[in-house]
């Protein structure tokens, strides 16, 4: 406590001015406010204000029935929409305690890996764009089209695939599209090899990423940062390996870990993960024709009282869904914990400290933030500007009041 106060004092002495970045800023498509405290051009501290994109999805979920919620959960995030609906369905299946058919498991794994491909290509493009290297942006997004085409072939839509349903998947993958998908995967593998060279050796990228935005391993452990950001700091965590779901424990792949802890290692983790995704996809496509045609088990739509949890690895890290049913066709309580929330809130102040202001966009882009997943509620007194975060005691008090 004493040390914190000391730090606060040092900070106050050093800060020459503060600069608000956002809610509307060319750096990002989404609306978010970063309050940057500067000493000249050096960043001393960052305040993050989230909440501009809060839509109250958890509350909305409690007003809809279990089938309608599949499509609502998909719309939490525009990039990782598939993983949200799959995790939702897994959570409801855990509530009901049903097993889904083998073929449905393979198809789900396939869609998730295709989504990881397109999300990682998007990330490579965004990093290139923030660095000022528009060629990399154009190239990565051109190759992203191939993964989007594959998703359209499989699911019938490019962005919100609406592939899973409670108890299985909604449509089958016909055998005749497999050769064309394998061809596209070969092309993507060739291109990823090229990106690996570019993001490892290119002068512009080294100048803007190597040695910048350092996130030490002990801070990763302290703030339980998840996903590729943690893996880039040398922590070997991956939900797909630690608590396997779907078919991940039967398939041959490995967790990518980089030890450099800087922006470049965060980019390299994602580039190397693309190879692993392609490897998984090839195995799934090889296995599919030999499986039974059944893709869905019958499930009741009214669920008795129960509680369940589902954990998966989204392209950005660990995603948790909690559901509680009450004997009707609507959930009593839904809770979603998204990976970007932890990654942004806890890692941004650490990695931006003592960096140059001009490097801010590139460093923020390197943790692949997804602001629409992040938004939570903060209470702000508009008259005094006082902020209040809802904590455990406040919630308990609210609960007691409700019980009375």
């Amino acid at each position: 406590m004493k040390e914190e106060k000391k730090m606060e004092k040092v900070k106050e002495e050093r800060v020459t001015y503060s600069l608000p970045i956002g809610p509307q800023h060319p750096m990002y498509v989404e609306a978010e406010n970063l309050n940057v405290y500067l000493d000249g051009e050096t960043i001393v501290d960052v305040d993050i204000n989230v909440g501009y994109l809060h839509r109250g999805i958890e509350e909305l979920m409690q007003r809809r029935n279990y089938l309608q919620n599949i499509y609502l959960s998909e719309r939490i995030c525009g990039i990782c929409s598939g993983i949200h609906s799959m995790t939702y369905c897994q959570c409801i299946e855990n509530l009901l305690d049903v097993n889904i058919p083998e073929r449905a498991k393979y198809i789900r794994t396939m869609v998730l890996e295709l989504e990881r491909l397109h999300s990682h290509f998007l990330f490579l493009g965004v990093v290139g764009y923030e660095i000022g290297m528009d060629t990399a942006f154009m190239y990565a997004w051109k190759d992203r089209e191939f993964s989007m085409d594959m998703l359209e072939q499989v699911s019938g839509n490019r962005v919100n695939y609406a592939m899973p349903t409670v108890g299985g998947v909604r449509r089958d993958v016909p055998n005749h599209i497999i050769p064309s998908m394998l061809k596209k995967l070969n092309h993507l593998e060739k291109r990823t090899e090229y990106y690996r060279k570019v993001f490892l050796r290119d002068r512009t990228i080294i100048a803007r990423t190597r040695g910048l935005g350092i996130l030490p391993k002990k801070d990763v452990e302290r703030f339980s940062i998840v996903g590729p950001v943690a893996r880039a700091s040398g922590l070997k965590i991956d939900v797909r390996r630690d608590t396997p779901y779907l078919k991940y424990d039967d398939l041959d792949w490995k967790v990518i870990v980089e030890k450099a802890e800087d922006s470049q290692s965060r980019v390299m983790v994602k580039v190397l993960e693309i190879f692993q995704s392609i490897k998984i996809l090839r195995q799934c496509l090889k296995k599919l024709p030999s499986l039974d045609r059944e893709i869905k088990t019958k499930v009741p739509l009214v669920i008795p009282k129960a509680e369940a949890i589902a954990i998966t690895e989204a392209p950005r890290g660990e995603l948790v869904y909690y559901a509680m049913s009450n004997g009707t066709d609507r959930p009593e309580r839904m809770r979603i914990r998204t990976p970007s929330f932890v990654n942004i809130i806890y890692s941004l102040p650490i990695i931006l400290k003592e960096q140059q202001l001009a490097d801010l966009p590139a460093i923020v882009a390197s943790i692949d933030p997804c602001f629409s997943c992040t938004d939570r509620m903060t209470l702000i007194d508009t008259k005094s500007g006082e902020k209040k975060t809802v904590d455990e005691t406040y919630l308990k008090k609210l609960g007691e009041r409700r019980l009375k």
Binding site: N65, L67, I70, T135, N160, R170
Partner: protein
């Protein structure tokens, strides 16, 4: 990136983009396009209304079926419900993806239950 080599390579390539309105893109089969409703097959039970996630379909039970394309998510839940729960197959998703209209009211389709022939 060695830009000179890349640039020279790309000069002799065909453009990756398509001339969209003149040249139609190749659509993979199974695309979820417009919702098509068969008014004779439909029994106006209102199950599609109950499971529509965005409220695009409204059914006056036994009388009329109303569809607002402006609210539709193209998730094909209505098709699934009609096919597997009601077993009537009155709703299908056709592979038509150009839905732009100048007026909002033209996005709305209302089908009334046809009168039985005597």
């Amino acid at each position: 990136m060695r830009l000179t080599g890349e640039a020279l390579k790309n000069v002799f390539k065909r453009p990756f983009t398509q001339k969209y309105p003149k040249v139609k893109p190749i659509i993979p089969e199974g695309l979820r396009g417009r919702v098509e409703h068969d008014k004779n097959k439909c029994i106006y039970c209102g199950m599609c209304d109950k499971y529509c996630p965005s409220g695009a379909i409204e059914v006056e039970v036994g009388r009329a079926w109303r569809y607002d394309m402006g609210r539709c998510l193209f998730c094909s839940q209505c098709e699934e419900v009609c096919k597997y729960m009601v077993r009537k197959n009155a709703i299908t998703m056709v592979m038509d993806f150009e839905h732009a209209e100048r007026k909002k009211s033209r996005l709305i389709t209302i089908h009334k239950k046809p009168k039985p022939e005597k």
